[in-house]
């Protein structure tokens, strides 16, 4: 064995190399990103943005980063239709969009899908280019393959949700999938995008996913993310959104499964009166590590952002919330709020919450707060004094704390799917709720 595994490395990693990146029209972008990545390799805990996350499980695993073919059939995918039947399912297997497993039951939908190599996508690939200094984003840019751009036309109000269904098939070898999806919301459009991540793995899997949004003037978009992969799966998720004039972007990140999960959300409120709501729920146990990093950039006046992140951590699990808010010099009349509420169910669970506010404008309303504690003992006693057993009382109180986030999701099928999952994860034995 090599004794210096500690110092990581890219050098052992045969698959992260120039000869393995896809050959296509995006070659130049890919090479530049790959070189950025290779220069620094995987970040270690000395890196400020990565200090709570031990990346060894990823850096020391030999994943196949080249897109791996999968023999999955349509019938294998049905179990993953978490958002009900009235959705347009867009399925990605090992990062590649599969049109044969995609569409709406009516075979119709009002938006367009383009390959990222298409002329239509070119403009957005350029304009949405962002922080490829971030190592996993650079890796995604180098290796993504079969990604798509979704274009929802102006004024299109779509009642059915778009379900991005991501499956990582690591049944035959360790696979790193690098899906990429760009969503362009036309002016005054209104719709919902749901991303769910699944792994079928006998071998370790890594999902390194990038979703980029351009939210046009007056558009209202909700993006719900469900992360429930198993303990063999690591997950790095990047969401970038540029929110334009009077547009509203709501995002829900619900994390229940996965060994090591990192979410990087970067939202730019780029024009006046834009608005973003970021909601996060993590329910972790065992040795799970779930790290939520958010950046909300108030680049324009009269914008509003609100972040609410909740964690319930049991056993040896770890949670991180790092929320950065920038208020630029011109961004007067900014309202920016942030709150992180956490419950530790064991004394070996750890939560690190860190707000970071950088405010350069003077007419600003900003607040942040973080609380981490045990379950409310008074509430627990109140339940018990009415005859509800301790285990159930704890589970119900945790369930209530967490379900509050899920209840705000605007899709009944996904909501009940998540609530069910929550109740399983928390062992809510008694039937509760309607």
């Amino acid at each position: 064995m090599n004794s210096s595994v500690d110092t990581l490395s890219v050098t052992n990693e045969t698959s992260i190399a120039e000869e393995n990146i896809p050959v296509d029209g995006l070659q130049k972008l890919r090479l530049a990103a790959l070189n950025k990545f290779l220069k620094n390799g995987f970040p270690d805990s000395k890196h400020e943005e990565w200090k709570y996350l031990n990346l060894k499980p990823i850096s020391e695993t030999k994943y196949n980063h080249c897109m791996v073919a999968s023999p999955l059939k349509a019938s294998d995918l049905e179990q993953f239709y978490d958002a009900g039947s009235d959705t347009v399912n867009l399925t990605f297997i090992n990062g590649r969009y599969c049109s044969e497993f995609s569409g709406h039951q009516s075979h119709k939908h009002p938006f367009s899908i383009y390959s990222l190599e298409s002329k239509e996508a070119e403009l957005y690939l350029e304009t949405l280019r962002n922080s490829e200094d971030e190592p996993f984003h650079a890796l995604n840019t180098a290796f993504h393959q079969g990604g798509i751009m979704i274009h929802v036309p102006d004024n299109c109000r779509m009642p059915m949700a778009i379900h991005l269904l991501y499956v990582n098939d690591s049944q035959h070898e360790a696979v790193a999938a690098h899906p990429k999806c760009i969503v362009v919301a036309g002016k005054n459009s209104a719709f919902q995008v749901i991303a769910t991540y699944h792994s079928l793995n006998n071998f370790p899997s890594l999902t390194n996913t990038v979703t980029e949004f351009l939210i046009g003037e007056g558009a209202v978009v909700e993006f719900d993310i469900k992360q429930n992969e198993n303990s063999n799966a690591n997950h790095i998720n990047r969401v970038y959104a540029r929110v334009q004039r009077k547009a509203v972007f709501d995002i829900f990140t619900v994390t229940m499964g996965g060994a090591l999960v990192r979410n990087n959300l970067e939202i730019i409120l780029s024009e006046p009166n834009a608005c973003a709501h970021l909601n996060g729920l993590t329910v972790a146990d065992g040795y799970q590590v779930v790290d939520n990093h958010t950046v909300v950039d108030h680049a324009s006046p009269n914008c509003e952002s609100n972040q609410l992140y909740k964690n319930i951590l049991d056993d040896h699990s770890q949670g991180v919330f790092n929320g950065k808010i920038f208020v630029r010099k011109d961004a007067q009349k900014t309202n920016a709020f942030q709150s992180s509420k956490n419950v530790l169910l064991s004394n070996t669970a750890v939560m690190n919450a860190k707000p970071q506010l950088e405010i350069y404008a003077d007419d600003v309303k900003c607040s942040h707060g973080a609380t981490t504690g045990q379950l409310d003992e008074d509430a627990l006693f109140y339940f018990r004094s009415r005859g509800i057993g301790e285990r159930d009382a704890r589970a119900l109180l945790n369930y209530t704390f967490a379900s509050d986030v899920i209840e705000k999701i605007n899709n009944d099928a996904l909501k009940s799917n998540l609530l069910k999952l929550l109740s399983q994860k928390l062992n809510t034995a008694v039937e509760f709720g309607e």
Binding site: D378, A379, F381, Y382, F383, R384, S385, R386, G387, I388, G389, E390, D392, A393, L396, L397, T400, F401, S403, D404, V430, F432, G433, E434
Partner: protein, 250 residues
């Protein structure tokens, strides 16, 4: 039904109750009065099984069986109910769901089948009438944003739903307006069936005009220092506690 002998109890290492004796028989109403900080709520918490309160000495027997080792939920299932002096707010849990879970847990412990939604709603309707509670309250989160008086009324509503045997009411009258006091008292009286017993903690004689006690006790410095018939409450109302304190100090 309840027999407390030489009870010593402490919280955070501080002894609050020191040698309290009280016997409550089926159907009786005992009023407990006493100055602030004398240990009335502590007694209520000890009876309900709050873990922070430690029993150091003495016995608490309920139907001849010691309560001390029992969990709060087991006490509730055996029919002990505490109406809190300061009811807790539980955001996100509706009153109706909370009670449905509680009622069915208590039923389960008695080997009874769970109530289905229809029967539960009917029960709720009956009991709401008893304390004239507005229907909208049952859909709201438990006590969340309730006024002081609404919380107290809700406690008695819960009590009516759970049909306990021994009801401990900790200052249920405080916070109730004059009409509400009468309504809630009528509700409590309606639950007096000759078997159910009550320990009514209060500062004011007024409540005892409505809920007429069989005995009045004065709790002072962790002990019951005086007991008497209902007239004792009148005397206290008139003279305050000084004369009793003096008696004790001598």
């Amino acid at each position: 039904m309840l027999n407390i002998k030489n009870l010593h109890a402490s919280v955070e290492g501080k002894e609050i109750l020191n040698g309290l004796n009280l016997q409550v028989n089926p159907g009786e109403v005992h009023a407990i009065m006493g100055p602030n900080g004398s240990g009335k709520s502590t007694l209520a918490s000890v009876l309900a099984g709050r873990e922070a309160y430690e029993v150091n000495e003495g016995e608490v027997l309920y139907h001849g069986e010691s309560l001390i080792e029992l969990s709060p939920e087991d006490r509730a299932r055996k029919g002990i109910f505490l109406a809190f002096q300061y009811p807790i707010e539980i955001p996100g849990v509706s009153n109706a769901n909370f009670l449905k879970t509680a009622v069915n847990e208590v039923r389960k412990s008695k080997g009874l089948e769970a109530l289905d939604s229809k029967d539960f709603l009917k029960l709720m309707k009956d009991k709401m009438q008893l304390v004239k509670m507005d229907k909208s309250m049952t859909q709201r989160s438990v006590n969340e944003g309730f006024s002081g008086g609404e919380k107290k009324r809700n406690e008695i509503f819960q009590m009516a739903m759970l049909e306990p045997e021994l009801c401990v009411l900790d200052e249920t009258d405080s916070g109730l307006d004059i009409d509400a006091l009468r309504i809630v008292s009528d509700g409590i009286n309606a639950l007096r069936d000759g078997k159910r017993s009550f320990i009514v903690i209060t500062h004011y004689q007024r409540l005892l005009d409505y809920i007429v006690p069989d005995f009045v006790h004065v709790l002072y410095k962790g002990k019951i220092v005086k007991s008497g018939p209902k007239e004792l409450a009148l005397e206290l109302e008139e003279k305050g506690y000084d004369w009793i304190k003096e008696e004790v100090e001598i």
